[in-house]
């Protein structure tokens, strides 16, 4: 089980690292935001979602897509503008969606997915499916009015929205603590009458438990929940970010607690053979190399089709 978790997290890490290489080498063009270090939140939260549940992610959403079951090959192709991309190359790194996997899209407007998730939950109330609608956003998004609006909307109408705040300490390039007077972000939710928890997002068990309870509440018609998962990104905000804002020593400390390092230590301490642990990384990297190589051979989207799909 724990080895499976390690493999799942390595798949996301290896995907992100391969994306970084392809961005620097040229096949991927444009802005890319990676989620290295935050894998446990995506893996833990998505492990509790049912097929009918809807997920709304952010521009740092590749890992969430993988955790929801979107094939890496289609993600690579999407980022490289290939016809085989999950949206034929039209969505790109920050805007792709795959509703057939319950992945209803990334979003590069911070916090904009939250009101949309409210509608998905409202649909679940109306049609009796009691689907949970999970919206994930960063700590910076807590300062967006639309997020407050969405939380109150869900609370007032008793809708099954699971608000997941990945607190990686940085509101883009500025420490979140400088941008709020109350560092406990979960209190925004509890002030609106939403049950809220703060958890160590590097601990998969905590992520799973919090998400399970939130999805159960949604499914039982008990309304929304809020999870503030403390995490860290161990790469820049975007590829090319020089990260001058990081205090000395911070990254070194983060590299010790980040979820892959943490789980690796746990497995070894549990007596799992080193070879089994290392195989997870090797296997994930091989899978991503294969997927990326296949996507690279696919044809580029034809610019002549760029005006298509504006209207039904």
């Amino acid at each position: 089980m724990k080895l499976d978790d390690l493999l799942s997290m390595w798949r996301i890490r290896a995907l992100e690292e391969k994306i970084r290489d392809l961005r620097l080498e040229g096949p991927i063009v444009g802005s890319v935001h990676l989620a290295n270090g935050q894998e446990s939140v995506a893996v833990g939260a998505c492990s509790q979602l049912r097929p009918q549940d809807a997920l709304y992610a952010t521009y740092r959403g590749h890992g969430w897509a993988v955790a929801r079951g979107v094939p890496p090959r289609e993600i690579f192709a999407e980022l490289m503008g290939r016809v085989t991309g999950v949206n034929g190359g039209r969505g790109g790194s920050a805007h792709f969606s795959a509703p057939q996997h319950g992945f209803h899209g990334e979003n590069s407007i911070v916090g904009a997915g939250a009101p949309i998730a409210v509608g998905a939950a409202l649909a679940g109330k109306y049609d009796g499916s009691r689907r949970a609608a999970m919206t994930v956003f960063g700590d910076g998004a807590i300062n967006q009015g639309a997020v407050a609006e969405a939380m109150n909307f869900a609370a007032a109408l008793g809708l099954g929205v699971v608000f997941v705040c990945e607190n990686n300490r940085y509101s883009e390039l500025t420490p979140i603590d400088d941008m709020v007077a109350e560092p406990d972000l979960s209190r925004r939710a509890s002030a609106l009458g939403i049950p809220a928890v703060r958890i160590d997002g590097n601990d998969l068990a905590q992520v799973r438990t919090a998400t399970r309870l939130a999805v159960e509440a949604a499914a039982a018609g008990r309304g929304p929940s809020f999870i503030e998962a403390h995490t860290q990104r161990i790469v820049g905000h975007y590829i090319g970010d020089s990260e001058q804002y990081r205090p000395a020593g911070e990254l070194e400390r983060d590299l010790v607690v980040e979820p892959i390092a943490r789980l690796t230590r746990e497995l070894l301490a549990d007596g799992v053979p080193t070879e089994s642990v290392e195989r997870c990384e090797r296997r994930a990297r091989e899978e991503m190399e294969t997927a990326a190589a296949a996507a690279l051979r696919d044809p580029l989207a034809d610019p002549a089709t760029a005006k298509e799909h504006l209207y039904a």
Binding site: N87, P99, G119, Y126, D127, G128, G145, A146, A312
Partner: protein, 343 residues
């Protein structure tokens, strides 16, 4: 799409009656919403004060009582939440109709409209349809304040992926609304609020022209006026005055502000050689500028006179005491037609 588990209450819609019924625009819209709710379980209404109250303009009057609070949803005050949740509903297979209480109140929802609603189909390579209608009472003339009197259509028409339509009479209001709700595209539905109580013959059994087509509502061969919404009645009044003088003014009700039906306008201008575009919104970068540019692109050698615009002024909408001076009406339309004819 899941089948709604909640039984639909018995439709209270009136049976279609042969022949027209005389209704004000607000009641024609109510009738359109009622028939849409009765005809399709996927249609839901969402907005502020629309349910128990029936809307500040009474357009949704009685609908929550007849269709239940799961289909006619009173939302908290927050337009980003209203439009955002409509997007989520549409993704789940529903056909939500939002009500924005007043024109100026749509601005808090602009992010959802511009960055999400307009873009999803294109960015998903057609995989995601968002059949959302956003109803907005627009324009001035009711003695309200600034943000209750705006004409925001150009912001929407500027955004690819949205349809923008506006009815000018009760029959059109009913049919344009039904067609907007049936459309798989997002539609910004602009209701000229000072015309809400303007009565007209509504025949629910006789369809209006397709909602992306302009319509000649008064024929003439000397000059063309393109107008929409609240200025169509003014343009018609002007045309009738000219008819008494033997001057043929053709009035085109634009109906669809995006996409624009170029063909109907060009056919008319090639005949008349003269064009006046009239709208209540401010002049700069408005729909009048767009229509003028299209006509000079395609029919330059047919023009006998410059294309003229009759518009609101390039100021914020004024306080109530000044709005009669600010709003364009029959006088300013006649003045422009005279200037066009003098060329």
């Amino acid at each position: 799409m899941s089948t709604p588990a909640v039984p639909t209450p018995p439709a209270q819609a009136d049976e279609p009656v042969a022949g027209p019924v005389r209704l004000p625009i607000a009641h024609a819209l109510n009738r359109g919403l009622r028939d849409a709710l009765a005809g399709d379980d996927r249609v839901m209404l969402i907005g502020e004060d629309i349910g128990r109250l029936g809307g500040v303009f009474r357009v949704t009057d009685g609908l929550q009582k007849d269709f239940g609070d799961l289909r006619v949803v009173d939302s908290p005050l927050g337009e980003a939440g209203i439009v955002g949740s409509a997007i989520g509903l549409a993704m789940a297979g529903y056909r939500p109709v939002c009500e924005i209480q007043f024109d100026g109140f749509v601005f808090p929802a602009m992010n959802q409209i511009i960055t999400q609603l307009a873009k999803y189909r294109h960015r998903s390579e057609g995989a995601v349809s968002l059949p959302v209608v956003i109803r907005i009472p627009v324009g001035g003339g009711i003695g309200a304040i600034e943000h209750h009197s705006e004409s925001p259509e150009a912001y929407f028409a500027h955004t690819a992926g949205l349809r923008v339509v506006s009815p000018s009479n009760a029959h059109e209001a009913y049919h344009l609304l039904r067609e907007s709700i049936a459309s798989d595209d997002p539609v910004i539905f602009l209701e000229p609020k000072r015309s809400y109580w303007l009565k007209g013959d509504v025949d629910t059994t006789v369809a209006a022209p397709a909602f992306d087509r302009a319509q000649v509502v008064h024929p003439g061969d000397d000059v063309t006026i393109v107008a929409y919404g609240a200025l169509v009645p003014a343009a018609l009044k002007a045309a009738q005055q000219y008819a008494e003088e033997g001057v043929g003014v053709e009035v085109i009700d634009l109906r669809s502000l995006s996409p624009i039906d170029d063909a109907t306008i060009l056919e008319s201008v090639r005949r008349t050689g003269r064009l006046v575009v009239a709208h209540e919104a401010s002049r700069t970068a408005g729909l009048g500028a767009e229509v003028a540019a299209r006509v000079q692109d395609e029919a330059f050698y047919s023009l006998e006179a410059p294309v003229l615009r009759v518009t609101g002024y390039d100021t914020p909408y004024p306080a109530s005491r000044l709005e009669e001076d600010w709003l364009p009406g029959v006088d300013r339309i006649v003045d422009a037609v005279d200037r066009s004819l003098e060329h």
